[in-house]
Each structure stands twice: as structure tokens, then as C-alpha cells.
């Protein structure tokens, strides 16, 4: 799958907490969370998350409760808006145990966000701004034995189901 990139190393949660300047009171929850939203680091902004993260946080919270967290203090939270038409979901650290549920919730969220008009007609040469929607995200998966993999995707939103299945398959290999 050409739009899916994989790395074997990724930042630790401690590193993310330092980057975000997380206060001590929140560190325990961040370490324990099965799903953690971390700063996107776009434009070298250490405290900025992709626009819409607040809504995604609420959706994930409703599904996963205390098992998910975000690596930022309330007052430090900022969003970065890059106004080209890509649904940028941001960056996540996910424990192996929560991977299937997380991928499923993320898929539902993408579907809800990208309800948009159908293409005019397949026989027509469409300008780039009318091409099917693109989505991007980075998911770092970790297990209790220290295994880590980072999956980075930017490509058609319509391919999400295959991408999610591929991520699970690649993680379970070895």
C-alpha cells in the first residue's frame, strides 16, 4: 500500500509529555491511556493539534472513556489550521489492546466528517479541488513488551478500511 509508511521507532510518551510541557498532575493519566492524542508538530508548534481535534477528542472520549487522553493541558491547547482540503487527523499513540476499537472509531469519524457531494461524473476531467477527499494521520502502536511501530498515512479517505486492515495485519506480523 503505497500511501502507508511504516517506521520501527517512535517517540516515547515521556518525550511527548516533555515536548508539550505537560504538568505533573496529568502525567499519570497520559501514561495509562490506551489511546493518546499527541501534538502534530506541524510548523514546529509543540502545543498545536490539527483543527477539529477537539471534536475528535469528544468522539473518542464518548467511546473509550478514561482509556483515552490528550497530551496537553487545557490552557495550553491550540489548533493549527492548514487550509488545503485534506482531513488531517493528527498523531496518536495507541496501545496494542485498543488498536481495533480505535481504528473503528476513527473510521466512523472520517465517514461523518467527509459526507460531501458525489463527484460530477467519472467521464469528466475534474480540477484538483473536486477530487475525492484525502485524509492523513500517524498512529504509533506499542505493546507492553516494548514493541513499537509507527504508521503514517496520507491518501484517499475512501481507502481507509483497507488501510485500517493493513495496519492491523502489519502490526500482528512477526
Amino acid at each position: 500500500m503505497e500511501n502507508l509508511k511504516i517506521k520501527d521507532d517512535t517517540r516515547s510518551r515521556e518525550e511527548w509529555m516533555d515536548i508539550a510541557g505537560l504538568p505533573e498532575i496529568l502525567r499519570k493519566n497520559v501514561m495509562a491511556a490506551d489511546v493518546l492524542i499527541v501534538p502534530s508538530l506541524m510548523q514546529n508548534q509543540p502545543k498545536a493539534f490539527m483543527v477539529g481535534t477537539m471534536d475528535l477528542y469528544a468522539v473518542l472520549k464518548a467511546q473509550m472513556g478514561d482509556k483515552m487522553e490528550i497530551c496537553i493541558a487545557d490552557d495550553d491547547y491550540e489548533e493549527i489550521e492548514l487550509n488545503s482540503r485534506i482531513l488531517r487527523l493528527g498523531r496518536f499513540c495507541v496501545k496494542q489492546v485498543a488498536l481495533p476499537l480505535f481504528l473503528s472509531v476513527l473510521g466512523a469519524y472520517i465517514y461523518d466528517r467527509l459526507k460531501e457531494p458525489e463527484p460530477v461524473e467519472v467521464t469528466v476531467e475534474l480540477p484538483e479541488y473536486q477530487q475525492p477527499a484525502t485524509v492523513s494521520f500517524t498512529i504509533a502502536v506499542e505493546d507492553t513488551l516494548g514493541k513499537k511501530k509507527e504508521f503514517q498515512y496520507e491518501g484517499p479517505a475512501a481507502d481507509y478500511k483497507q488501510v485500517a486492515a493493513e495496519i492491523e495485519k502489519l502490526w500482528n506480523e512477526e
Binding site: Q43, Q45, A48, V51, T53, M54, D55, Y57, A58, K61, I70, I72, D74, Y77, E78, E79, I80, E81, L82, N83, S84, R85, I86, K115, E116, P117, P119, V120, E121, T123, V124, E125, L126, P127, E128, Y129, Q130, Q131, T134
Partner: protein, 268 residues
């Protein structure tokens, strides 16, 4: 409200439909339902108001294009597109009320010559909820989600504090109004070639008469462009000079043919 909405919408396509008076009437109803906290009827009134406004705006686009106000029409097309997204996100069952407009808006947009846009990079530091006015907080969500309708009101966020980080040039903008212009077209100089839109407008005599088009690629002989020099802009529309583009293509100059079908006074 449901019966009233159906009655209003059944007259929408009539030539003498009074948009302004109808919008005023529905808005008054919406406000009265809001005051009674009758959320269901207030939301139906909001949807009815949106549908009527979208059709009014669509007709305005048609008039603007007749007057060759291309950029103004472009901006209004984007507003219609956004309005349809919000409407269908909340009321997916009423797609039929706007599906024709949705198709025509996208067709008209795709005939515009605009391909390059500006895109801002903004760091949003503080925003408030447009429904309850509370400051947005990551861990203390007020329960209102942007893009959803609550008691007859669309929830939008109001940005109170932000910093502009930069401006990019993009081909797939979030905001289509940010078209790159070299000059102010209102001064008479045209940066873009609107031939396709002009062709449509000279043959399209009713905004509710649908047309469709397809495109296909052909090559033309350079002999068909007698004034072409190496320094001319390539006729294929790549934005490159002819000498650096189709001159080196043994098949000739790349060309896109648009074929329009029913709904127009004559075939083009």
C-alpha cells in the same frame, strides 16, 4: 412546521416565487419555535430556511454569470456548496430538495479556469461555541458540535484569538474564494479565460434546465495555432511556455474537448 415546510417547498420552482418574503416568514417562525424551546420544529424551520436560501442563491449565481460577474458568482457557489454540506449533515433525508443544485454547482465550478489558490496557516489560540458562548476547552466540552443544528441554530465556532503563521499556494483549497489573481478583474483586466462559462451562458436559458458534460483528450496539430511561438503560453493550459511544453510532443498540442448534452438551446 413540517406541513408548512412542504407547502413552501412545493412552490419553490415557480417563476414568481417570492424568496425574500418567504425567507422572512420562515425566519419569524423559526424564532418563535426557538423561544418556545420547540427544538424539533425550530430545526425543521432552519432546514426549510436553508433550502429556500440555497435556491435563491443558486438563481443569483445564474444572474451573476449572465452579467459576467465570474468571481462574485464563484464565491456564492462556494457558499451554496457549504450550505448544502451543513444541511445534509443534519437532514440527510431531504437530499432531493437540493440534489439538482448540488450537481449544477459542482459542474459550474469545474468549468471555471481557477486552479491556483492561497491557503492560510493559522494557529487558533482561543475559540468560543457559537451556541452557548462558552470558551472551548478540550476536557470540558459544552456538548455543542460545530456543523450541527441546535434549536434552529447552526453551531459554528467563533475564533477569539489566533495568529497567522503563513500563506501557502495550493491546488485544493479549503476556502475556494482565495483565488490567486494577478490583478483586480473589476478594473477590466482579465487574468483568466472564461470561454467555457460564456459558452454555457449564451445557450442556457433556464437555471432549472439541467445539462451535463463530458471531457475527452485529443491532440491538435501546431498548424492550427498560427501565431504560436516558443515564448507563447502553451495552448494546452499547462501554464508553461509552448517551447517547453507541447512543442516537444510528437502527437501535437494537448487539447481537452468538452461535450455538452441536453438542457442547452443548442449543442456545443
Amino acid at each position: 412546521m413540517k406541513n408548512k415546510a412542504q407547502e413552501i417547498l412545493s412552490h419553490l420552482l415557480e417563476d414568481d416565487f417570492n424568496f425574500d418574503a418567504t425567507i422572512k416568514e420562515i425566519d419569524a417562525l423559526r424564532k418563535s419555535y426557538q423561544q418556545q424551546h420547540d427544538e424539533e420544529n425550530a430545526n425543521v424551520a432552519w432546514a426549510t430556511l436553508e433550502i429556500v436560501s440555497l435556491h435563491r442563491d443558486y438563481r443569483m449565481v445564474y444572474s451573476m454569470l449572465q452579467e459576467k460577474q465570474y468571481y462574485d458568482a464563484w464565491c456564492l457557489l462556494e457558499q451554496i456548496e457549504i450550505g448544502i454540506v451543513h444541511l445534509l449533515r443534519n437532514f440527510s433525508g431531504i437530499k432531493n430538495a437540493v440534489s439538482y443544485i448540488e450537481t449544477m454547482v459542482r459542474q459550474l465550478q469545474s468549468l471555471y479556469p481557477y486552479r491556483v489558490f492561497f491557503s492560510t496557516v493559522i494557529i487558533v489560540k482561543e475559540r468560543i461555541c457559537g451556541i452557548c458562548g462558552k470558551k472551548r476547552s478540550i476536557r470540558h466540552h459544552c456538548g455543542h458540535f460545530p456543523g450541527h443544528v441546535y434549536n434552529g441554530e447552526l453551531c459554528i465556532d467563533i475564533v477569539k484569538k489566533a495568529e497567522l503563521e503563513g500563506v501557502d499556494i495550493v491546488f485544493n483549497p479549503e476556502h475556494k474564494y482565495a483565488v490567486a489573481f494577478m490583478s483586480d478583474e473589476k478594473d477590466g483586466r482579465k487574468d483568466y479565460d472564461y470561454t467555457l462559462l460564456d459558452g454555457i451562458m449564451s445557450r442556457w436559458d433556464d437555471p432549472y434546465r439541467p445539462w451535463h458534460y463530458t471531457t475527452k483528450h485529443i491532440h491538435k496539430s501546431p498548424d492550427e495555432f498560427p501565431d504560436l511561438t516558443d515564448d507563447s503560453m502553451c495552448p494546452c493550459g499547462s501554464g508553461k511556455k509552448y517551447g517547453e511544453c507541447c512543442k516537444n510532443d510528437p502527437e501535437g498540442v494537448k487539447h481537452v474537448v468538452y461535450e455538452f448534452r441536453p438542457g442547452l438551446k443548442e449543442e456545443i
